[in-house]
């Protein structure tokens, strides 16, 4: 068994953790946008219906 195998698996694990982590961060940003959008939807200031 190659004694340096731990470095290979550490490299692989870090790459995948960073990629998945970034996707999670993007998802979080999307959720924040969606929440803000929902808030704006609840406001009637967008249309002249209030006028």
């Amino acid at each position: 068994m190659d004694g340096n195998l731990i470095f290979l698996f550490a490299a692989l694990a870090i790459v995948w953790v960073i990629i998945v982590g970034y996707l999670v961060v993007l998802g979080g940003r999307l959720s924040a946008l969606q929440r803000e959008l929902d808030t704006l939807k609840r406001q009637d200031t967008w249309t002249d219906d209030d006028a």
Partner: protein, 246 residues
């Protein structure tokens, strides 16, 4: 009654996350190609005689380097185009590509360090290629910090575009650093004069991995750009709402 402003429902950031067919197709392609890259790197490629299995880091480290250069080249092109045309979508592409490029550069530096430890006997060396790559990393950290700190969006986009153009100068310097200065890094084995200096099986594994990381880069930038554009739309809606309230 007439609707004076676009309704909030017209902005759909949810469509940015693989919700449409091309986005879903690209995401599936990225997953499949990354799976193929894993197979090629860990199972298909032969074990290097001197370094052993740790040399397989090469199949991630080199594609990460390539996609980092690609990302910052896209920042350069989009930034120059933004300064010429002032189209917000170009700024969104530049910003997204800078963020993804920084992510890939971070992974490149980490995988390089993990490869260097067993082979060179050190985690880091201040040789020309590593130092210029670290400089590249700092340039784009600065780029994103600038974006976050300047409140005026137009001004931030303009300043960042200048950094995006100037920062790209480091890319050819990194590439040539192993030729210009003494370095622990070997000279290019793929673009060597006289053809790639590696067996065909290693070269095909590298090509598969290059394609996979390039597809992943494209998917992440598209995703990030859509998010950026949706955020700009929301900012505009919020501004209009405040104007109407005033």
């Amino acid at each position: 009654m007439q609707r004076l402003h676009p309704p909030a429902s017209s902005v759909r950031p949810a469509a940015g996350l693989f919700a449409d067919r091309p986005g879903l197709g690209l995401a599936l392609l990225a997953m499949l190609s990354m799976g193929a890259a894993l197979y090629a790197a860990l199972l298909y490629a032969p074990t290097e005689r001197l370094q052993g299995d740790v040399q397989r880091i090469f199949y991630f480290h080199v594609p990460l380097a390539w996609t980092s250069y690609l990302a910052f080249f896209v920042v350069f092109v989009a930034s120059a185009a933004y300064l010429a045309k002032r189209a917000p979508v170009l700024d969104a592409v530049a910003r997204s590509s800078a963020e993804v490029g920084l992510l890939f550069t971070t992974m490149m530096l980490i995988t390089g360090s993990l490869w260097a430890r067993p082979i060179w006997g050190t985690w880091w060396s201040w040789d020309a290629r590593l130092t210029t790559t670290l400089l590249l990393w700092f340039i784009y950290v600065g780029y994103l910090m600038l974006r976050a700190s300047v409140e005026d969006e137009e001004k931030a986009a303009r300043y960042a575009a200048v950094i995006g153009i100037v920062g790209a100068v480091d890319i050819p310097i990194i590439h040539q650093s192993v030729v210009w200065w003494r370095s622990l890094h070997p000279e290019s084995v793929v673009l060597a004069s006289g053809g790639p200096a590696m067996p065909a099986s290693m070269l095909s594994a590298l090509v598969i991995s290059l394609v996979a990381f390039t597809v992943l880069y494209v998917v992440l930038v598209l995703l990030r750009t859509r998010l950026e554009l949706a955020r700009a739309d929301l900012r505009s809606l919020r501004r209009r709402a405040l104007e109407r309230l005033a």
